[in-house]
Structures are given as C-alpha cells and as structure tokens.
Symmetry: C2
Subunit: 412 residues, 2 copies
C-alpha cells in the first residue's frame, strides 16, 4: 500500500456515547477536511449500520462554525449502534455491503470510534478488506466512560464521566449532610465489569465532601459486610454516603443487581442498574435509617456541560491523530493514549494493533482497592485526578447549551 | 418599636436545600455584618432547632473570602431541619427556649430562610415574641426548588433547579436518540404538589432537544392516556422522551407513585419518588420497547455547578433585602419577588405579610397546561425562561468545585 493514498473517508460512532465523543468526531472531521490525501469526508449514520446501508452524510457541506460546536455536544451526533458483525466466512452479507459502499464512495480511509466491541468490528473489517484485495486504512479511536479498554492508559470519555461523578457526589454529600437527623445516600455509577467510574467518586474528597464507602466490581461484595460498614459510619457521624458500581458482584461472581435485569442490548450485555435501590432497601430494612438511592444513569455519560477540558482536548487529539496516522500509512490500528513518564501529567498518542483492545476488559488493579474492599487507594486517585482537570468553555444560548446543528446532507 | 433598633441577629436555614440557598445566606450575612444596627451576626445550626438549643455560629469570625464562596456552595451550609413548631399555647417549651436564646444573645433580628412551613414557623415566632413583649424583627426569606410559595412571583432556588432540569433533559434527549433502535426515557423531577419543575423540562426545546411529553400534578394523570401518548410518539419517531413530576395524581386525587412510599419527614410529607420506574415498567410491559427511568433526585436541588446566575443574584438580593427591610422597621414579613411590568425581565423586592405564604401552595395555572394534559403552553415558557438565564462563575480547585469552608465557631 503506498504511503500516499488518495480517497474518501468514512467516520462512524459506535456503542454508548460519552460527553466528549463528538470531540473525537470533530478531531477526525476537521483534520480529514484539511488532509490533501482525503478527497471527501463522510459521516455514517448509526455506526457500521450506516456503512452497510450506505446512509452517509457529507461533512464537507456542513457549516464549519457548527462543526466547531461538536465538542460541546453530548451523545453521538451521527447516531450510534450496537450491531455486532458476524465473523466473515460465517456470514458475508454485511461485509459485501460494506465493500460496496466503500467502492461506490471511493473510500480509502475508515475511522471507527467506539469501545472494545467496536475495535473488534474494526479488526474484522480490516481483515476482510485485505482478503478482498481492497486497499483501505482502518483506524479505531477509543471511547468509553467505563475506561475498561485495554492497550490505552485511559479512554477518552472517562475523564468527563469521572468529573461528573466526582462533582455530583460532592454536591450530593453536601446535601445529604444537611439535616441533623442524618441519613444515608447511595449513589450508583455505571461500570459493568470495571470500577473506574465508581472509584472516581473518591475524587470528591478533594472538594471536602466525599463518599464514606466505595464498592467496585473488582472486589467481591458481601451484603453483611456492607450493612456493617454503613452501620459503623452512621454510628460515628449519623450519616453515610456510599458510591457503588452497577456491576458489583458477589463472591460467587453473579451480579448483585441481577434480579433487576430488565433488558439486554445487541451484544447480549445485560442492562444493569437498580443496585442503588436494592442496597437502599437493605439498609432501610436492616438499619431503620432514612436512605436514598440515586442512580446517575445516562447523566454521567451525556453531561457535556460538566466535561473535563483535558478529556475533551484528548478526545479531539485522538481523532486528529487517527487521521494523521492513517494518511501516513497506518492500518488496522487503534489510537492509544499513553501517560508520559515524569512528575507532570502529559498524554502521548500511539497506534497499537486493534487486537490489543478487542474483546478484552481492563479492570481496576486489586491493589488500588483497600483490603476491606470498600474504598480505593491513593494510587487510584493519582491515576484519575489528572484526567478531570480543566473547565472547557460552555457555549450557551438563552441560558441553555448551544449544541451543534448539523445539516446531515447525503453525498451530493 | 423604634425604627433604629440595635442588637444581634440570627440567620437560619430550613427545609430542603436549593443550589443557591447559600447565596441568600451570604446576602443576609454580608449585609448584616455591615449594618450599623446589627451588633453580632449569628448563624443557627440546623434551623430553628439550633435556635432552640442555642447552637449558634459567630459569622463575624469567618474569613470573608470563604463567606464569598457561599453562593457557589450547594446545600444548606449551616444545616437544615424539618422541625415543625407546635402552636404556642399548645406547647410552649420550644418558644420559651427560643426566647431564652434571643435574650441571652441580645437578638433583635431573626431571619429565616425556607419554604411555606418555614414561613409558618416565622409567623408563630413573631406572634409569640410580640405577646411576650420581646422586641424582635422577624423576616422570612423564600426558597424552594418547587416554586410553590404563594405571595411571590417565584422563589429563589427554582431558577437553578429549572436550569438543571432543562439542561439535563436536553442532554438526555441527545443521548436517548442515539441508537437507530429507538427507545423511551422517562425523567422524573421533584414537585410534590406543583408542576413547576416538571414543566421546566420544556425549556430544553430551546436547545433543540426537548421532551415529547410532560406530566404535571395539576392535570389528572391517566395511565391509558399516557400509554397511548407514548405509543403515538414512538410510532412517529421510534423514540420518546417523557418528563414527569413525582407528584402526578390520578383523577381521584391519589398519588400515582403512592405504592412507592418509603418514609416520611417531620412535616408528615410523604417521601415520593420512583414514579419514573413505575411508568417505565408500564411502558415496557404494554409497548415492549426499550425504556429507561431516570430520577433526577437530589441532583436537581444541589447542582450548584449548573446554577442560574439570575437565580443566584436574586437569592443574594432577597437576603440583602431582608436585612435592609428589618433594620428599616419591617417585622413579621416575608421577602417577595415581583416581576416588574414591561418587555424585559426585571425583579423587584417587597415585604409581604408572612401569612401570604404560610401553609399555602401555588400551583401551575391549569391554562398553562395543554388540554390533553401532556405538555405546558407558551405562557409557562415565557414565565420560566427568564429565570434560568446566565452562567455564574464556577470557582474550582483541582478540577472540582471549591466550596466555602467555614470555621463555624461558637459565639466568643
């Protein structure tokens, strides 16, 4: 494959959104529009589904001022999907249609922004195109609030979710302490298999208002120990603030919230949630205290108004890097973020094999959780704190966020 | 009573916090510390309970730079209470202790910041002191996110909660629209008897991402109509965003969420909540679509990071006005906010009799709700929109909010 290859590019978004996923979109689109190797910049509607069905938007027709608002616009502006590609060979129909779209549109660059399932999708497409003899450079750009992607120090999206959680937990802590009668508040974060989000609640302590107890999926959850923990804290100060991951598991490995299963997504991930309510009921019954369960739900992944500036900048840079790497010849890679050695935080970017992330999950190291399994250690704080730094501008209009308004026009 | 009366003042906070209740605290404290008529400025711990028990803080000993951070500090910084004073005559013990505290500390000014129950408390104390022949000026300062206080155009605290709700609903709307498979999200706001908070979700439409359906307590709720409404919206666009008040009621008058009753507070208010889950279950069972219930819970009243600047300024001004009015001779009054006539929004302040607010509740006018009872009208928007304007500074430290750190020292 020549170093300099001319052609169109497609950018698509997949999986659950983050507060800054559109910052990566802007990084790709802005850089691609200025790249001499890239002739047209398409966005696919709803991820790979839009590529399969040739539902594309011509990003070159958008107002640059609206594109510049993308970093401040939550959710996946082009639409997302949770569509799992079958292995080529097993079922080729999707791949054939993808290749058709690529040929029809002269696509030589494909950028896919998502989590580990999406990196798997990238890897499959990359292999299929190579086997078909179609020249195309496929680059994955990481995103996930869960921060469970392997092969990268952290994932764009995590820092903003962590900042949202830490800030909200600090505010809830102030509120929960307001009555002399005390009370327990249990705040539930997302995080199916990893406790990065729940652990970020600990950062609230730097605001002087943090959680008393934190439970992560990486440490086995025991209801009796939990009740004992809450009782001890309440005994000391009449009130107690708990942060808990939706994914906490019993020693046997089953989700504590399994009984609250309501539906599942296309990847057969169980939709969790409701653990705050479950634990609140247990505390109420066993300890007879006033207790409130609070599920941060979608808010933690769509609160663009509380994004971390560093996270937003890095999300943009990851998109920009993907385009630069692809036009320079990289293929079948994922953009990885690396924490440069040294006292002061600095992020570097690299292209790693897609397989490094595909279908794996990065957990919080057990040694970053205390022995009792009800808090994180200083190592966790040192890891997460740099990622929530900085307050981005917040474009507003009439007192409300001013989101990007794209025309989303089909290719002319 | 002489116009110019010298003495100490006590300021206290009561009821549920708001994002800007401490802006009123700062308005009182800052103004009182500079008032020649006021010799000492005390804050009471946990509202009237702190007055009864002589648990006071000397505000004159605080660092002025920390006091200046109060407007950006959520929750009730001095602590709150939900303690209902019995009628004097029925049980005098509390009043005797309040009078003892007042005499001991030379208190001639009492400022109480709260909702309608707190205005009732103010009225009772004012009457008791007058009957006892003790000269003291009692002023109530309104606050409530519910905005259900009579006698004032709106209550400090509402604008910030409305801004939080509108912003969060806009962000959730973006997120809920992300998958091509569609889905329903049901966002629950507070508002026991009044729909001001649920209605504020409509403001999100100005960000281009608003709710499809809004249900307020003022319009009788019917489950069949609700299911039909959601089905119709989903039929048209595959997805649906609902905003609903915790206090919605059936035609018979009972709370729809009554089954979710978990506890009650000292005023015998039922603690509601859980209606989002109830409605989500109904939609899932009846329509078989993916649905998510989201309860904004405490977040809507403690999210100081998303306060309305106008609300914050007015909360401060209400506190300042209370001190000015009291030192000028007013007694037994509540500070009322009035919307000045004219095209452009402007707020004026007045002192109204406490009875105007005590134990009454201001509902959303039925004509500000559409005939179908599933949305608000233009009148509602025109009323609420001015209240969410402006973005205050957000003091931060290490990427987290920098709250006021008070010493809370007892009187020297």
């Amino acid at each position: 494959m020549p170093d300099s290859m001319k052609g169109a590019c497609i950018f698509a978004q997949s999986g659950g959104p983050t507060a800054v996923i559109n910052a990566s979109a802007y990084g790709v689109i802005k850089t691609a529009l200025r790249s001499p190797e890239i002739t047209r910049v398409y966005g696919a509607a709803n991820g790979i589904v839009g590529v399969i069905n040739d539902r594309l938007y011509d990003m070159g027709l958008e107002d640059p001022r609206e594109l510049a608002l993308l970093p401040h616009t939550p959710s996946s502006e082009l639409g997302s999907c949770r569509y799992k590609l079958k292995d080529a060979g097993e079922a080729d129909a999707d791949y054939v249609k993808i290749l058709e779209t690529f040929r029809r549109r002269g696509v030589r660059y494909f950028f896919y922004n998502g989590g580990n399932d999406s990196m798997d999708t990238c890897a499959k497409i990359s292999r299929y195109l190579a086997a078909a003899g179609y020249e195309c450079r496929v680059l994955g750009i990481p995103k996930t609030i869960d921060n469970d992607l392997c092969g990268t120090d952290h994932s764009p999206g995590y820092g903003s979710a962590a900042k949202y959680i830490a800030t909200s937990v600090a505010e809830i802590c102030k509120d929960n302490g307001v009555y002399d009668t005390g009370g327990v508040a249990i705040v539930e974060t997302m995080g199916r298999h990893a406790g990065w989000l729940a652990g970020s609640a600990a950062l609230a302590r730097l605001a002087g208002a943090g959680p008393d107890l934190i439970y992560l999926p990486e440490a086995a959850f025991d209801m009796e120990s939990f009740i004992g923990d809450v009782k001890a804290v309440c005994g000391e100060k009449k009130k107690c603030l708990v942060a808990v991951s939706e994914g906490i598991r019993c020693a046997g490995g089953g989700f504590v919230s399994e009984s609250g299963v309501s539906s599942s997504d296309g990847f057969m991930h169980v939709q969790l949630g409701g653990i705050a309510g479950t634990l609140a009921d247990a505390v109420r019954q066993r300890l007879g205290v006033k207790v409130r369960g609070i599920e941060l739900s979608l808010l933690q992944r769509c609160a663009a108004h509380l994004a971390s500036k560093r996270d937003m900048d890095e999300a943009f840079a990851a998109g920009e890097y993907a385009v630069r790497a692809a036009t320079a010849g990289e293929n079948g890679k994922m953009v990885a973020l690396r924490r440069a050695p040294g006292e002061h935080y600095r992020c570097e970017y690299a292209a790693e094999p897609l397989g490094i992330a595909a279908n794996n999950e990065k957990s919080v190291p057990r040694e970053w959780i205390n022995a009792a399994g009800n808090d994180v250690t200083r190592e966790f704080i040192d890891y997460a704190l740099p990622l929530i730094q900085g307050e981005p501008e917040r474009p507003t209009e009439s007192g409300l966020p001013r989101f990007a308004r794209l025309k989303k026009l089909p290719p002319g």
